[in-house]
Amino acid sequence: MALRIPCPHCGTRAIDEWVYGEIPIVPDAITDADARDVDRAYFHNNAEGVVREAWFHLYGCRRWVTVERDSRTDTFL
């Protein structure tokens, strides 16, 4: 189909079986509690490169799986 994500329980499956989930990282440099709260809620690292993220295997085991992906190429590592 398309991009394929490896599921440790089910095997590798096309991206349309999955739901994307971000793993947010609030930078340590932000120290104010409110600012950290806002950053966590709205701001994104949106990195160009290898990112750690979660995908929910909606059509299979219905569990979250943590994977690494290169956001420049959409390659799952």
Binding site: H9, C10, G11, R13, E17, Y59, G60, C61, R62
Partner: protein
């Protein structure tokens, strides 16, 4: 072809599921490390986990297909590769439904949520 099934759903610790007391001939679809769909009613099953959820579940429909029937159906409705082992369980998108497959040497069982059964049956041509 799709018929209502009476299954049991179990949620427990993975270790308890690994050692669950389930009659040997019963088909167990291990859908996640901590969850299984068992083709038997719940009275035959026990699990060594005081917090386990073990419930009868009538929310699934299924059909046995010979491989002569299953192969053309899968070619047109399943975009991923089946495991080679027999018997084995596989799950993923089939005919746009979240399907569980039980693969044997000479036949295959497909199990889908009853809420999708009519549309899957249409795709099976029945």
């Amino acid at each position: 072809m799709l018929e209502p099934l009476l299954l049991t759903r179990i949620v427990s610790t993975p270790a308890a599921l690994d050692t669950a007391d389930i009659p040997a001939e019963v088909i167990v679809l291990r859908t996640a490390p901590d969850e299984a769909l068992v083709l038997a009613d719940s009275s035959t099953i026990s699990v060594d986990d005081p917090h386990a959820i073990i419930v009868d579940d009538t929310g699934w429909h299924g059909a046995w297909m010979s491989w002569d029937q299953a192969i053309p159906f899968l070619q047109a409705n399943c975009a991923w590769e089946l495991p080679a082992e027999r018997p084995s369980m596989a799950q993923g998108r089939v005919a746009d439904a979240p399907a569980k497959l039980w693969l044997e040497d000479d036949r295959m069982l497909i199990v889908v949520p009853h809420v999708m059964a009519r549309d899957v049956a249409d795709r099976m041509g029945s």
